[in-house]
C-alpha cells in the first residue's frame, strides 16, 4: 500500500534528515515509527502524507508514485489520511464541534451527516459533552483527543498520528492507544510515531530511526 524506495530527505541544503529509507506498509497494519527527538519521525510521516517531498527516492502509494502526483490531485490524496499532527493544528477560533466538522465540510458531507458523525467521533474520544467549548479551554490531553476526533471523523483508511501520547499520563496514553488499536482492529492502517514502541501485548511493526537511518527494518517487533 505504502512503499518507500531508497528515500532521502534533506531540508534546504542541510544534512540528510532521512537517509536511504526503504520499507513497505501493507493495508491494515499497525506501524510504530520510533526514535529519539530529531531522529526524523515527523519527517517520515510528512513524506507518507505527501506534505513533504523526498529529495530523492520514490514513494509509492496505492501503486502511484507520489512524485508524479499533480498539484490539483493533492487534496484528494490527503483526504485518504486521517492526520494527527504533533502540534495538533487545532483552530482556536472555532469550537470543538466545528474543529471536528472541518474535514467533513472539506469532503462535501451533508449537514445532517455532519452532526451525527462529529458527535460519534467526539464520543469516541470522550469529549461529547464539551462540543460547544473552545479548544483553548481544553487541557493538553483533551486537545490531543480533539485532534484525534478530527482525524477519525471522516473514517479514513489510514490514520497517521505524530506522537499522539506525548504529554499524557500513562492512563490517558493507554486510553488513546486503545482508540488507535480499535481502529486497526476494524481494518484501518495505523501509523504512529513515538519515542519508543509500546509494551502492550499487541502485534505491530516497528520502524526505528537513528539519525535518519532506518535501523530496525520492518516486522522486527512482533509481540503477541
Amino acid at each position: 500500500m505504502i512503499k518507500f524506495n531508497n528515500v532521502f530527505k534533506r531540508y534546504s541544503g542541510a544534512k540528510d534528515i532521512l537517509q536511504n529509507v526503504s520499507f513497505e506498509i501493507h493495508s491494515g497494519e499497525l506501524v510504530f515509527v520510533t526514535g529519539s527527538s530529531g531522529a526524523g519521525k515527523s519527517t517520515l510521516l510528512k513524506l507518507i502524507s505527501a506534505i513533504e517531498k523526498p529529495s530523492s527516492g520514490d514513494i509509492i502509494f496505492e501503486n502511484q508514485n507520489l512524485s508524479d502526483l499533480r498539484g490539483v490531485d493533492m487534496p484528494y490524496l490527503r483526504r485518504k489520511f486521517g492526520m494527527i499532527f504533533q502540534d495538533h493544528k487545532l483552530l482556536f477560533d472555532r469550537n470543538c464541534f466545528e474543529n471536528v466538522a472541518l474535514p467533513l465540510a472539506i469532503n462535501d458531507t451533508t449537514s445532517i451527516d455532519i452532526s451525527r458523525r462529529v458527535r460519534a467521533a467526539l464520543n469516541k474520544v470522550g469529549l461529547l459533552e464539551k462540543e460547544k467549548l473552545m479548544p483553548i479551554t481544553l487541557s493538553g490531553g483533551e486537545q490531543q483527543r480533539l485532534a484525534i476526533a478530527r482525524a477519525i471523523v471522516s473514517r479514513p483508511a489510514i490514520l497517521i498520528a505524530d506522537e499522539p501520547t506525548a504529554n499524557l499520563d500513562k492512563k490517558y496514553a493507554d486510553e488513546i492507544m486503545n482508540i488507535f488499536y480499535s481502529f486497526q482492529q476494524v481494518g484501518v492502517t495505523v501509523i504512529i510515531s513515538s519515542h519508543e514502541a509500546p509494551k502492550s501485548p499487541i502485534r505491530f511493526k516497528e520502524f526505528h530511526l537513528i539519525h535518519g537511518e532506518l535501523i530496525k527494518p520492518q516486522d522486527v517487533s512482533l509481540l503477541s
Binding site: 490539483v72 484528494y76 490524496l77 477560533d93 474535514p103 462535501d108
Partner: protein, 299 residues
Amino acid sequence: MFHYFHNHIQAFLRAVIRIKSNWPSSIIMILVIGITLCLPATGFLLVENASQLSSKIEYEAEISIFLDQTISQDQINFIGSALKQTSSIEKVNFEPKIRAWEKLQEKLKINSLDAGISENPLPDAFFVTLNTLDNNIVESLHKDIKNLEGVKEVIIDSGWIKKLRSILYLIKVGLLILGTLLAMVLIVVIGNTIRLQTLTYQNEIEVSRLIGATDSFIQRPFIYTGIFYGLGGSLVTGGLLTVILELFNRVAFKFESILGGLIMLTNLPPSKYIFITIFAMALGLLASYFSASRSIKTI
C-alpha cells in the same frame, strides 16, 4: 449538483461569520465602496435629469421656412397643406411678407418711405413647431422642405439643443471614464483588504489544506466576502443618492418662487440601481477572486 449548492451555502455562511467577526473593517470597506461609487452615480443622476429636461424642451423646437419672393398664392397654399399633413409637425404658422414688414417697421420705428425703401424686401414665411427632435427625422424633414418648389431657405432653430445634448454626452463620457478609474481603485482596495484577511486566516488555510481542502474550497468564503462588500457598498450608494436627492429637492422647494418654477430632481429608475448593485458585486467578486487566489497560493 446538491453538493455544489451545499458547498456554496457553507462558504456563504463562513463569509458571513467572518464579516461579523471583523465587522469594523467590514463596515469601513463597505463605506469606502459606497462613497466611491456615489461620486459617479451622483454625476449620472444630474446628467439624467438634465437630459430629461432637454428632452422636454425638444418639443418647442422650430423650423423657419422662407419662401421665394416670386411665389404664387397657389404654391403657398400647397406648401402649407403639405406641412400640415406631416406627422412630425405639431403646428404650422404662416406669416405673410406684409405682416413681417409691418412688424419690422414697428420694431425699428421707421417708415418705408422715410427709409427710402419702396419695396418690401422680406419673404413670406412659415414657422413650424416640431413634436420631435430626433436628428434623423429633423434632417430628412429639412431636406424634403428645401426641395419643395418655392422654398428659398430652411433654418432649424435647434442648434443650442444640439449643443446641450453633445455637452451632456461629453459629461456622460467623462463620468464613464471617472467611473472606470474609480472601479479600478476599488478593485485594488478590495483586493488588498481580502489579501490581508487571507493572512488573518493563514492558520485555518494551512490546516484546511493539510487535511485535503482544495484551493477553490479555501478561497470561496473570501470571494463571498468580496461580493458582500460590493452588495453593502451599493446599498450605501443608493442610500446616499436618495439622501442627496431629498436634500436638493427640499432646498429647491424653498427657492421655488425665486427660480420661477420647481426644479425637482427625479431619482434614478430601479433598473439603474440594479445595475449599480450588480456592478458593485461584480467588482467585489473580481477583486476578491484575483487577490484570494494569488494570496492563497503563497500560504
